[in-house]
């Protein structure tokens, strides 16, 4: 069967929004795709708006250009659209390119498609994010601190430094995946897909404190904010404070934060708590363990050392997922390989493999 014949069964069921998704995932603008297809950009617009339907030959060409199977472009009967379930939290709309956001959102959508597929075979932990901790925009930072502590209590997180944030989220039904794009501006984001919260962490696998803080920040959004308002600075500030309080509870860390800045002391705390030195300094200032002037001097000193971006006492690596490898293991016992999941979800095999192979890093895995 040639590629045109292979595409023919899906023409009548062509779902325009799936073309948009595939294009977004590949980081292409309409003009880029048009060039690949040798059509005008407005022809792509018409296809994506549903104003026109592709011929089998065009669908075959789309499939080849975007690297998605023809079946992917057919509607699946669920009338599902990307924005059916709200939008994702992005830290800053100004610093994140629309192209990158679209790409990241498409990835999150595909991850949810994989979940739909595998949940026919495996039962994942049910989401138990409380709905009682929503915070209004006018909530004080003290309110946010209390909510973070309340969640630690509800989830019975032991006192002291939090072990793996990824495992903690997964144990409570939040699915975590890594961004496949390398856009540094897309730190991390989160969103709901039906009953399932999803957190997408940065592709960077070598900055453990940042990844842990990002995970806690996104947890903050999921717990505090019922309404998604990407780029809202107040909500971002709340999520940030939530992350700080969740990872460094006031009553447990305040006594350990020295009022003056010494690299070795803060370096040691960094190694114990798994947060960056800068996060510790902010915490020391916010908890009034350090004066504003000392805080400023400390940050200037870190900058002068050229170490704001590349801190001393580095903590490399990432927190591997337990959920994806375990699901893969169970699927394998049933004879369902990653290729079968890709086929069922109608997604490119390389993407599905990457989602399952969360722990391909060569460095020793923490919390194994």
């Amino acid at each position: 069967m040639n590629s045109i014949d292979g595409a023919r069964p899906y023409v009548s069921a062509f779902a325009p929004f799936r073309l948009t998704l595939a294009r977004h995932y590949r980081g292409m603008r309409k003009v880029d795709l048009a060039r690949h297809l040798n059509v005008t950009p407005s022809a792509v617009t018409q296809l994506e708006s549903g104003a026109s339907r592709p011929k089998a030959s065009t669908l075959a060409q789309i499939s080849l250009s975007l690297g998605f199977p023809p079946a992917f472009f057919a509607a699946d009967g669920r009338r599902r659209r990307l924005d059916d379930h709200g939008r994702a939290f992005f830290r800053s709309l100004r610093s994140t390119r629309q192209l990158d956001r679209d790409q990241a959102e498409a990835q999150a959508f595909f991850a949810s498609e994989i979940l739909d597929t595998i949940e026919r075979h495996v039962r994942l932990p049910a989401s138990d994010l409380p709905t009682t901790l929503y915070a209004p925009e006018e909530a004080t930072l003290q309110d946010i601190e209390q909510r973070a502590i309340r969640l630690r209590d509800l989830w019975s997180v032991p006192a002291g430094p939090t072990a793996s944030m990824v495992r903690l989220l997964e144990a409570h039904g939040v699915v975590v995946t890594r961004c496949v794009i390398e856009a540094d501006e897309v730190h991390a984001f989160s969103r709901w897909f039906a009953h399932r919260p999803l957190v997408v962490l940065s592709a960077d696998r070598n900055d453990l404190p940042r990844l842990r803080f990002d995970a806690a920040h996104e947890l903050g959004h999921l717990v505090l904010h019922a309404e998604v308002e990407p780029g809202n600075r107040i909500l971002e500030q709340q999520a940030h404070r939530f992350a700080a309080a969740f990872l460094m509870p006031k009553d447990e860390i305040a006594g350990q934060l020295p009022p003056t800045f010494r690299l070795d002391e803060y370096g040691h705390l960094k190694e114990v708590w798994g947060v960056s030195m800068q996060a510790l300094l902010y915490r020391a200032r916010d908890l009034r363990r350090m004066t504003d002037a000392t805080f400023r001097r400390a940050m200037i000193r870190l900058s002068a050392l050229g170490r704001r971006k590349n801190e001393p006492y580095p903590l490399y690596g990432h927190e591997p997922s337990a959920l994806w490898p375990r699901a893969k293991e169970i699927l394998a016992t049933r004879g369902v390989g990653v290729d079968a999941v890709a086929h069922d979800a109608r997604l490119p095999l390389d993407f599905v493999s990457r989602v399952f192979e969360d722990d391909y890093d060569e460095r020793p895995a923490l919390f194994g």
Partner: protein, 225 residues
């Protein structure tokens, strides 16, 4: 010998040191595994790191005491101004010795000697003129913790005799197992590093929903979607 002039509340300080090392040795004896390649060297290293950790835990709670780690070596500054630093005990024959095998060790002994000779007159009557005390712990993976000493080393030719003071603060009957409870060790403190904490289990189970709920496991290419 009354150690109050050096340690302040010597009872509290000694209790804290003893608790720290009893816990350290108990944990490391329990996890010692020759099949995993453990030997006296790994045991010593674990005691070293574990001792720093447990001392830090104990003294962080003590009012007026400052704990820090210059050059990654624990320093406990007591209310009296005297500093305490932990080391493993070494013996020269039957004598406890303090070999200046590191820069810090050499400096500790040198500082005490210098203070002793230069400033003896300025110390209050009855107070021995030294500022640097060392904790020395002794034990192995078979018997666990045997003894702990607190001493003030001096800089001299014979490391086995160069002590200004040396007191055994703890000696255990090693024919009886140490009964210290370490069951709450992992999660009861706020100073166990995040990497050493137990991450929660993620429960993923097999489930068959391909029949019964009407969900098909295969995509139907016939266009019935």
């Amino acid at each position: 010998m009354n150690l109050d002039p050096y340690l302040g509340d010597s009872g509290a300080v000694i209790d804290a040191v003893v608790r720290a090392y009893r816990r350290t040795y108990a944990i490391n004896v329990r996890r010692f595994d020759p099949k995993a390649g453990d030997d006296s060297h790994t045991f010593g290293t674990q005691n070293w790191r574990g001792g720093l950790h447990h001392l830090e835990q104990e003294f962080n709670r003590m009012p007026g005491v400052r704990v820090d780690r210059p050059n990654n070596h624990l320093r406990i500054t007591l209310r009296t101004g005297v500093t305490l630093r932990p080391y493993r005990a070494h013996f020269e024959g039957e004598y406890l010795a303090f070999f200046p095998i590191s820069e810090t060790r050499a400096r500790v002994a040198r500082d005490n000697t210098y203070t002793f000779f230069e400033y003896s007159a300025s110390f209050a009557p009855g107070l021995l003129p030294v500022n640097e005390l060392v904790i020395q712990h002794d034990g192995d993976h078979l018997e666990g913790l045997r003894a702990i000493y607190i001493g003030a080393p001096l800089d001299g030719e014979d490391p086995a005799k160069g002590w200004f003071l040396s007191e055994c603060i703890y000696a255990r009957d090693t024919t009886v197992a140490d009964d210290i409870d370490i069951s709450d060790e992992r999660d009861s403190t706020t100073t166990v590093p995040f990497t050493e904490r137990k991450a929660p289990d993620v429960h993923v189970f097999a489930e068959d929903r391909s029949s019964g709920d009407g969900t098909e496991s295969k995509h139907d290419p016939a266009g019935n979607e």
